[in-house]
Each structure stands twice: as structure tokens, then as C-alpha cells.
Chain length 358, copies 2
């Protein structure tokens, strides 16, 4: 079988995990589910599939140092810095050109750096079978997550006919990528059994992705080809110069939704995108009063709370369903159902010019 | 007029202001109402009445250093250390013997170290007139606070007939000290207009208080007289040796309730005993959403909250009527109406043996 090349896309810079996450220390660098950071969890998940030499991380230049220190086993050159955030198409294309030069038949496993999987073994099983199918059919395979609720925060994949003689159970043609739906539509999707959540995970031959970039994002292809035309010692500087000029579009919208012949492997692996503080309930064990937490906590007559402390104790008396986060320089308190509004704090701090805290 | 000798009784070691207050850093040493600590506020309140040389502070030996550093203007010997906490009778008696030796006709102004007064000027006016009346009648004067609600957490003073020709408006005989009442009784007290809250503030001639100690607390008098019989250089060691053997009783119960001929001056001076985190509403200005706080806070869609941060930001989204306290090593979150239960956290930490935090 062809070599697998995991490409961990670690360009995120979300504000939903403030005050633990900061512009210089985004979500993927946090140990939200316990001992290891989400980035380290992601690397551990793909470690049995590929050695460090064939594992790439694409990340903002500001975070490259932290990524390297969290994944010391990776060769330095395997952490590809982005001078500015340019969304996932540029990120995936950079990886594709990088791999295609050494191993054009290598199979890229493109994946987000900040998701959690309760069952990584099953996940790897699907990836391995999917890789065989993607290779046999020479097409793009995406992972579709079996929906567990009518979520309006995710994109969906409408599935088409079953792929015959596939090694992956339930492998189907992709009929269509669907943008985040309104609730009624999401309910119909889930009830129909024909829709999967778009996971952002893709298996595609490096040379094939380069072709897709050339076909669908000409400016992106031209920009990166200019970089790769330079000799190795000049490339880093050239990449930093060119990167801000590249189109900022997602891999899904810029390429995958336009490509044809895609296949989708259904996955039911305890996935969570860990989208906000309240989502920690999906990845951490609860105590008898349904409290969960990372770091020290002491609850008296309190239930359903999420606590996260990077240092020091969080103590509660008589509160329900709150998110409480403590860092050295800030505390956040909000109800779990307002966890998405944490960004309002970050916006307000930016407005005040309080950049030390954002 | 005789000299006034303010005696600030700073022996408290409450747990209701955890995590800001600790065994080694009690409430009176905290800046709960802003810039100055309650101890410093108390000293500032009596500063126009007496110079530092005539101002005493009685405090636990563990806190003497902090007291001296918060009140650097006081002569070192004016901070009297207690080897162990022995309640307020021992504390007041120690001050009485100390002053009586130099100025037996001096008038002690005994007062707690951890209360707040919105109107210190009126308070001083009452003290000065009260001092004149106490001197003229040669009796003990206590300050009675005009009740603003049927509080069950305080003791009351039942007032007797008006004192004729007094300089203090509304000066009356004390009919009786009353222990903390149940709610129905407290309501009757307030409705009757004949009851005042017991403030714990007393004006009494030093020599007179020594006589009262001899009369009502023989063991206390004997213990302290043994100390004061030593020459000055030996006294500190002797006091530390004797102090643990002294009776631990309050000034009110041990002496004042047994004494006769007391008078009481009514006071309406914006008093608060700052009894818990939620009581900060009595001493701090509210914002438009009724939030109050000391230290940095940022509220989004939140109202009625009390925040206290010794360092760093407290940020909230969508919460109501919470107490949130941040110190370097701990965070507390509880509803305002559970603020009294903060002691449960302290008890639990003690049980766990986590003495660094208590």
C-alpha cells in the first residue's frame, strides 16, 4: 500500500476557550481533555499509521515553536509555518506540494488538530480500510460522522449510492456537501439516515490534490508553484512573502465541493469537535453530581458544572450548570448554555485595547 | 476633657471571606471596600480623635507583623499581641490594664477592627458627645445602631429612659442586652422603636474597666495583674505564657451584661459589619446592572454580582447574583444568598488536610 502522510491542520485561533486560549495559545495547544493537548491527542491518534518523518503539521508561524515543543518527535521541517492564517485550502495545498515533491503517490490524511475521538482504534480501522478504497478507486475519500443530534453548527454530507466491493463498511458516493442547515432541515437530515456530518477529514493522493488545486484554485496553485520553483534554501522566505497573497478559502468550499467522484466512509467513533467549554461534557468523565473538570475543583451542593483550572483551586457552593475557568491572570464564569458567548468577552477586551488578555 | 484611647480589637479570624481571607490573613487585613483595609479604615476613622501614641491594636500574635505594616504610624508597643485567641473580654482587659497604668482616667474607645461606616464624621460626632456624657456620668457608654431591618444575626440592646441634660441626642439608659433573636422577635424589636443593634463599641474609663474586670471576671483580673506586676522587660514573655490560661468570653457577655448604669447612644451612620461577601453591597457603589466589585471585572449580560479579585480579571457572561472571588491560588463561585456557606469550603479543605489554602 502507498504511504500514509498525516497532515495535521493546526491553523485555528478560536476565542471560545478564553481565558485558557489566547491569540498566541489557541485551543489545539490546550489540554482540554486531561493530560495531553488536543494537538498531542491528534498526533497520538495517527502515530500508529505513520512515523514522525511522514507526519506534517501546518500552523501559524506564531505557534510553530509551541507545536514543535509539544511534538518533539517530529523533524523540525515537518512543522510548516503559515505567515498568516489563510484557511484550510492553502494549508492543505502547502502540504500537498510538500509531499508530492518526495512521494507523489503518497496518500495525504488531512485532519483538524483540535477534535477528540473517544474510540481512536475504530477511527484508525476506518482510515486504513478507507485508504485502501481511496487507493483502489484513485479518488478522494472523506470521513462522514454518523449524526447523534440535529446539530445546526456543522455542515452535512448527503450520501449517494453504496460503493460496491469496498473494504470500508457502508462506503458511499458523496452526493452533495450541504452548508450548516436550520433546525427543521437538520432534523429531516438526521431522520432520513442519508446524511452525515462533515468531519473535515480527507484521504487523497498528494499528486491528486495538487491537480485539484490547479483545477479549482488557480491563484493558489500559481503562488505555491512559485515557491516550490525556488531552491530549498530560499523557500521559507519566499513562502512567507507569498502566503499573504494566497486566496483564503476552506478546503471544502474551494476544492472538495467542486471535485467529483468523492466517496464517504461513515464513522461512529465518539467524535467531538470540542466546540466550546460546555462541550467538555462530551470528552470528560462526570462525577456523581455531573460536574466535570480539568485541574483542582471542590464542589459543595453544586451540579452540572464545567471547571478548568491551569493553576489553583476552583471552589463552588450551591451553583448549577456553570462554566468556570481559572488561569493565572483571569477568571471566566458563565452558564453552560452561554458558552458560545465567551467571544463577547474577547471582543470587549479587544475594544478596550486590553491585548495582554486576548 | 480626658484623653481618648481608641482600642482597635483585631482578633478576628473568620472564614467567611475565603479565599481572600486565610488563617494567617483575616478579614480585617483585607481591602474589602476598596483601597484601604478594614483595619486601616478603622484607624482612619479614629485618627481625628487620638494621636497614634494613644491608639492601641490588640491582635493575634500571628497577625501583629501585618498589623504593624498596615499601620506604620503606630508605635511598635501599641500593637498588643495575643498568643492565642481569647475572645474580646481578655482583649479589652489587656488594653484597660495597659492604659490604666499610664492614664487611669483615660477614656477607652473599644471598637471592632472589621466594620465599615459610610458616615465616619457623624460617627465621630456621636463618639465625642458620648465621651463627654460618659465622663460626666462616669459610666460605660455603648453605641447602639438604629436597626434598618429585622436582622437575626446581631444582638440587640433594649433601651430604657432618656438621660436628662445629656449632650448626646437620644442618649438613654441601657435596659437590657438581648441575644440574637428569632425572626418574629426581631420584627417586634424593630417595630417597637425601643431596640438598637449592639455595635460592640464601648466608651469606658480605663480604671473603671479594670474595676469591672476585677468584679466580674476574677480569673482574668488575676492573670493580667500577675503580668503587670512584672517589670516591663519581662512582661511580653509572661503575657504569652499566661494568655492561654485566661477565660475566653466576650466583653458583652463577661462584663457589660453584668454591669449596671450603662448608657447607650443611638447611631445612624451607614454601619455595616461586612459579614459576608454579599454584604459588600452595603459598602461599595453599584454599576447600572447592580454589579459591584473590587479589582478588575468585565460583565456581559450579568447583574447583581459581587466580584473581588486580588490580581487578574474576573469576566462573566449571562450570570445573576453571584459572588466571584479570585486570588492567585483559588477561585470561589457561589450565589449571594449562599455566601454564609463559604465556611463549608474551608471546613472541607481542612478535612482534606489542604492547609495551604485555609
Amino acid at each position: 500500500m502507498r504511504h500514509l502522510w498525516p497532515v495535521i491542520m493546526a491553523g485555528g485561533s478560536g476565542t471560545r476557550f478564553w481565558p485558557a486560549s489566547r491569540a498566541r495559545w489557541p485551543k489545539q495547544l490546550l489540554a482540554l481533555s486531561g493530560e495531553r493537548t488536543l494537538l498531542q491527542e491528534t498526533r497520538a491518534r495517527v502515530a500508529p499509521l505513520a512515523p514522525p518523518e511522514r507526519t506534517l503539521v501546518v500552523t501559524h508561524a506564531d505557534h510553530a515553536k509551541a507545536v514543535r515543543s509539544q511534538l518533539p518527535e517530529l523533524p523540525r521541517g515537518n512543522v510548516l509555518p503559515e505567515a498568516v492564517a489563510r484557511n484550510t485550502a492553502a494549508c492543505a495545498a502547502l502540504a500537498a506540494y510538500t509531499v508530492a515533491e518526495q512521494d507523489p503517490d503518497g496518500l495525504l490524511l488531512l485532519l483538524p488538530s483540535d477534535h477528540e475521538m473517544q474510540d481512536p482504534e475504530s477511527w484508525r480501522g476506518i482510515i486504513l480500510k478507507g485508504a485502501a478504497d481511496a487507493q483502489a478507486l484513485d479518488t478522494v475519500l472523506t470521513l462522514g460522522l454518523v449524526p447523534t443530534r440535529p446539530e445546526i453548527g456543522y455542515g452535512y454530507i448527503k450520501t449517494g449510492p453504496l460503493v460496491k466491493n469496498a473494504r470500508t463498511p457502508g462506503l458511499r458516493k458523496v452526493a452533495e456537501f450541504v452548508e450548516k442547515p436550520v433546525l427543521e432541515r437538520a432534523k429531516r437530515f438526521v431522520a432520513s439516515g442519508r446524511y452525515l456530518w462533515n468531519s473535515g477529514v480527507f484521504l487523497v493522493r498528494a499528486g491528486h490534490l495538487v491537480e485539484l488545486v490547479r483545477e479549482h484554485l488557480t491563484d493558489l496553485a500559481r503562488g505555491l508553484e512559485g515557491v516550490f520553483a525556488k531552491r530549498a534554501s530560499r523557500r521559507a522566505a519566499e513562502l512567507a512573502r507569498v502566503y499573504p497573497t494566497l486566496p483564503a478559502v476552506s478546503l471544502d468550499v474551494g476544492i472538495m465541493e467542486k471535485a467529483t467522484g468523492l466517496i464517504v466512509a461513515p464513522a461512529n467513533v465518539g467524535w467531538s469537535d470540542v466546540g466550546s467549554w460546555s462541550a467538555l461534557h462530551e470528552v470528560l468523565p462526570e462525577d456523581a453530581a455531573r460536574n466535570i473538570g480539568v485541574g483542582e475543583a471542590l464542589h459543595v451542593d453544586s451540579s452540572g458544572c464545567v471547571t478548568y483550572s491551569t493553576d489553583g483551586l476552583i471552589a463552588t457552593v450551591g451553583v448549577q450548570d456553570l462554566v468556570i475557568v481559572k488561569t493565572a491572570d483571569a477568571v471566566l464564569v458563565c452558564p453552560k448554555d452561554r458558552a458560545q458567548d465567551v467571544r463577547k468577552i474577547v471582543e470587549e477586551l479587544k475594544k478596550r485595547g486590553d491585548h495582554g488578555l486576548v
